[in-house]
Amino acid sequence: MAEGYTLSPEDIRLFLDETLDQLEVLEEEIVKLEGEGHDPRLLQDMFRIAHTVKGSSATVGYSRMSTLAHAMEDVFAAMRDGRLAPRQELVNVLLEAVDGLRGLAAEFDLSSGPDAEGEGRIDVEALVARLAEAASLGAGTYEVRVKFADDTVMPPVRALQVIQALQELGTVAGSRPSIDEIRAEKAGLDLSAVLVLASHVDETEVERKVGEVSDVERVEVRRFQPESRGTEEALAAGGADVSQRDAAALPSTAGDSVGDGGGSPGGSSGREPGGNGGSGSCGESATTDVPRLLGRSQGETIRVGIEAFDRLVRIVSELAIDEARLAEVQRRLAALDGHSEPIEDLEQITAHMSRLTTELQEEIMKARMTPLASLFKRFPRMVRDTAASSGKLVEFVVEGEDTELDRALIEEVADPIIHLLRNAVGHGIEPPDERVRRGKPEKGRVRLAARHVEDRVVIIVEDDGGGIDLVRVRESAVRKGIISPEVAAALSDEEAIELIFQPGFSTASQVNDVSGRGVGLDIVRTNVEKLGGTVRVKTSVGKGTTFALSVPLTLAVFRALLVESCGQEFAVPLSSVVEVTRVPLSEVKPVGQGHAIVLRGKVLPVFDLRDFAGRGNGVMASESGDGTPTECPDRSSGRALVVVARYEDVRVGIIVDSLLGEQEIVIKSLGRLARCARGVLGGAILGDGRVALILDVARVLEKAMGRSHISGSGSEGGNDDRSDYQLQC
């Protein structure tokens, strides 16, 4: 097979990418199978995937991989044929085999080609042996041929009767003519092959059953031989419906097909290479292309490496900045030189360029959007494994996997979700006996759901387990020195539950393999907040816990309201801006540790950006590139300009010196600076080259609401937490 290795590195990369994609689907299906038992369609698809991987890997000469895939294929065939039940042990072996295939893909060295001698870490032989052992049970697949009497009236109806009779015995995996053809009344006096998967009957019973149909002149029943690859090829083409359509590829007899699909010349795409491995019996030419066609129908995309894509995004971002700068230059020229012709031309050009840049950005952003399914499909396996290792029974429900999110964000939310799911299974859901004692269904339910809410994506991780005991949470926080007993006693339940997000906090009484690794929900919250997101939790003792992650749709570009305070520009995401208003300074009243105003009869916490930006901070000044910081303007006018921003359903007023307008901004990481500046999401380069700080409204709000006695540094309620919000590093 090694002589087949004349493929380019690009071919190999495509092969590996595709294989990994397929394995992900396969893993998902194996887990599903365990839950649903015998599902012919599912098994057929699993068989198809194993078959495809086998063929592709053989094509690139990776014999270790094709050997393992072949062994899996046999197991799926046995299950599909009803010879093997998807017991948990078997599922475990299959999942290990999937991991094995993944490991083999990872071992594949692009430069030197496949390591057919098997020096790698994956013990293919052991896996194959276990799979073979698991699959070594009886057979129950029959190939049936029927001839109707010459004077048969309406032979297609008779053919349908035969199929129906066989369906009473088991699963009809395919036939020639196909069921669709028969229903379309295209059938003659011969049913040259029907493949029946019937585990509980013998040949005589199959023959007797078919004989019940009138006008049947002759029935031949033979045990289906797995060696007759032609049939397998036909069946490998797709799910039940598809296989019926393709069943014209069934060989006229089981014995006359040749060879093994693995050795057939695959297309250079590496997709469905086994498609023409069948015998040269009738129907061949019509059907060999079907798998290929099926393969193509979903292939109308090109793969772009994520790095290449990120480069594109970066270039477009730079372009947007230059476009803004160009517009700025044009405005300055217009101010200098009125309406000379070149300047008007420039104006037209910049206007057009601005439209194009916006469009380009929108298209790029759209292309970055990926359905969460790409992430969510990893979880059923994980939840299953976690449940198995912690002795829980869990039904895992996934909803809203079509919801799209920026690709970069999908990667970022993965870890927090994994953490929350593990918590839900490991700590949330009670052991089955305890659930029964509490009058709950033995099987716990964990739900993962995603949906768009305005310009954000909300991801819910919910369990119907024991809930979080807030009394224990308070005790634990005091014991660990996170808060003082007095503070603990004063906390409302809403505030107390926030304690679980504190560093070093863990409610788990024991550290175990599942989730008590000493890193906890504080990491989850920190990670999500880095994305400009939030984590909220609701719990009800005895009923369960719900975590809601809310993240922006995209990180890279958004519209913002530019404001200024003491010469420093800030960008407030426009999606959070509710209104801008002016209030007399005298109405800004101290409330608790912060300030508030009364706006239309409602108390609105406010936050003065000067507390953030002012005080002639040197770091800010050097970043702005034009020398010393501007003096903070005098507020002797006696009025404060307040930008009312909202985060989810909570509002906060931000006192600013002036408004600079709306702009599309591109986030730049501030690197070291950002780590020092809670409340800042990042920086944005403005048209004139200066940097605006993008406000993290959620953080500002938290500050203004005076929640800092929990999230700040001191439990004594001191005033030093303000430093969190200043850029003093």
């Binding site: 009236v153 309406m154 297609p156 109806v157 349908l160 009767q161 129906q164 229903r183 009344e185 019940e212 149909v213 009138s214």
Partner: protein, 118 residues
């Protein structure tokens, strides 16, 4: 003695079928449309039904479906004329066990009944 319900809107056809079946040891019930067939089926629980496809009031396929609803194991043989293949196909999918072409070949009628009810 196995009992067969003959359903046909033509009295002449019912009479011929009755004669044939009674000669070969079957007990016969009759109905002249689909609606009556459903009613008779429920009342008499015959071992098999010979059902014409084209009938007034309720046609054979509708009657078949009604009977199948009441007794999923009902053994119904559809009687059809040439050119009704798609209707027969529909009937088979709806659970008819066999079909016979009119005019009847007596041997085939008896063979079909024998397979179904012995």
């Amino acid at each position: 003695m196995p009992r067969v319900l003959i359903v046909d809107d033509a009295a002449f056809m019912r009479m011929r079928s009755r004669k044939l079946l009674e000669e070969h040891g079957y007990q016969v019930e009759e109905a002249q449309d689909g609606e009556e067939a459903v009613k008779k089926y429920v009342e008499t629980s015959p071992d098999a039904v010979l059902m014409d496809i084209t009938m007034p009031v309720m046609d054979g396929i509708a009657a078949l479906k009604e009977i199948k609803k009441r007794d999923p194991h009902a053994k119904v043989i559809m009687c059809t004329a040439v050119g009704q293949q798609s209707l027969v196909m529909e009937a088979i999918m709806a659970g008819a066990r066999d079909y016979l072409l009119k005019p009847f070949d007596p041997d085939k009628v008896l063979a079909s009944l024998k397979k179904l009810v012995g």
